[in-house]
């Protein structure tokens, strides 16, 4: 049986991709950003997922204003990086998992999430930047990718609650897939930022921190945040954060936060990053753990594990 073992939240700032592509990662400004993902790359290298479901949004690359699907699931065998005006990013073509993707589509549509099936799609920085942050810059991506593009460009995007519930439906779909596959789900975008109009440059670190805290502890609270609050508090484009709730919905109610990183700014945006593990995974990893081990101890242990990895 396939299962979702962990969730990753990550910003997808295009300038991060540009810094990578133009060899500027060593500059102090960018070092500050990239250093926050060193431990995450180690975590990912150890976790070795078979498939990553990446929830992201397209930025006028694959979809213009001609067609605006609210949820579009990539069911293709591969997804080339899009030309966003400077040529395609020099990253490997992303290999899909058409069988699992088709299974998810069939399952969630019957669960009343009427998503769009996409059999041909290029993917832009919204997807490729988080891939780089978590997998580095390999010659080939080490796992299959299922892109889930969410409209957060034309208002209104789906509500946070709808996103959260879609996450639950995706989890159910994955868990009914017969092949043994380890799946990690990404929520990308955010955190607070506004890049349009006279209020551009808005950052709200306090709000971001509260969002990350609740993402771990009380995601249901986040599902009640109305769109107006995202836009007012986290910037017009900060509304992208609803996508993180799809990731969160696909995880257990109780999760272990094994890593978090936050910095301001990357270009015009607050960069946020979190790794949440389902507890079953932690339990499976440590078979000696007594069944009644306290939840806090599990979280401490997971946090320690990732921290110690960073020390080399």
């Amino acid at each position: 049986m396939a299962s979702i073992i962990a969730g990753v939240g990550s910003s997808h700032v295009p300038a991060i991709g540009a810094a990578l592509d133009n060899g500027r990662t060593g500059e102090p400004y960018w070092k500050r950003v990239f250093s926050g993902f060193e431990k995450s790359k180690q975590w990912m290298a150890q976790t070795k997922p078979d498939v990553a479901i990446v929830v992201y949004n397209d930025h006028a690359s694959a979809f213009s204003v001609e067609m605006i699907p609210t949820f579009a699931l990539g069911c293709a065998a591969e997804f080339p990086p899009a030309d966003e005006g400077w040529g395609p990013r020099p990253v490997p073509v992303l290999k899909g998992h058409p069988e699992l993707a088709a299974h998810i589509a069939q399952s969630v549509i019957l669960d009343e999430f009427d998503l769009t099936i996409v059999n041909k799609m290029e993917v832009d920085h919204g997807l490729t930047v988080p891939m780089n942050l978590l997998f580095g810059t390999p010659k080939e991506w080490p796992c299959r990718i299922i892109p889930l593009a969410v409209n957060v460009v034309v208002y209104p995007p789906p509500t946070g609650h709808r996103c959260y519930m879609l996450g639950k439906a995706i989890r159910k779909a994955v868990e009914s897939y017969p092949e043994d596959l380890k799946v990690v789900i990404f929520g990308t975008g955010g955190l607070s930022h506004q890049i349009s109009g006279p209020r551009a440059g808005l950052i709200n670190s306090k709000w971001d921190k509260s969002f990350l805290d609740n993402l771990t502890k009380d995601p249901k609270k986040l599902t009640r945040i109305p769109h107006i609050e995202y836009m007012r508090e986290a910037g017009a484009e900060g509304i992208e954060m609803v996508m993180w709730l799809i990731m969160r919905g696909a995880l257990d109610d109780k999760v272990d936060e094994v890593y978090r990183f936050y910095t301001v700014p990357a270009s015009n945006t607050a960069v946020g990053h979190i790794i949440l593990e389902n507890r079953r995974k932690a339990a499976a990893k440590n078979k000696r753990a007594p069944a009644g081990r306290s939840k806090q101890a599990a979280a401490r242990k997971a946090a320690h594990r990732i921290a110690s990895k960073g020390r080399r």
């Binding site: 213009s64 001609e66 607070s192 109009g197």
Partner: protein
């Protein structure tokens, strides 16, 4: 028909790209989308006014594009991810556009971002609802007296 009023119109310095603006700005955004192709960028740069005739634009939209009035483009239905392609065609970085839209120099804008960005304090609302949205939304139901058992209805 006048634009319908929305709660988010109260956010200062913000043009929310809603379905109505998406409809209104279709021409602007499709024009910007065309700039993804090099041959189109060249044609546009060779004769901007002539090139714009290929798209369904109002005189105000054409004027905003020719003047590079980015805020006006947003107001008339342009979306930032699309108008940024016009900026790129002009050879500008995104931060240049952001500085333009905020009426500051690029240097000042970059310095503001490095210092933590624009504060939300004083920037939440035109009408003076400056408190965080959560603070006013939450306590309300609690302070309400419990409905009488007889008032049960659905």
């Amino acid at each position: 028909m006048a634009r319908a009023q929305h709660d988010y119109d109260d956010i200062p310095g913000t043009f929310v790209f809603d379905a109505e603006r998406s409809r209104q700005g279709y021409g602007i955004n499709m024009f910007c989308m065309s700039l993804m192709k090099d041959e189109n960028r060249k044609a546009f740069k060779a004769n901007e006014a002539e090139y714009l005739k290929k798209f369904k634009l109002t005189p105000a939209q054409t004027d905003a594009i020719l003047k590079r009035d980015y805020n006006r483009m947003l107001e008339l239905g342009g979306n930032i991810y699309f108008t940024a392609k016009l900026g790129a065609t002009d050879g500008h970085s995104f931060q240049h556009l952001a500085a333009l839209m905020t009426g500051s120099s690029q240097q000042d804008y970059a310095a503001m971002m490095l210092a933590g960005g624009r504060s939300v304090e004083g920037n939440r609302s035109k009408s003076g609802k400056q408190r965080p949205a959560k603070a006013k939304a939450k306590p309300k139901p609690k302070s309400k007296p419990k409905p009488k058992p007889s008032a049960k209805r659905k």
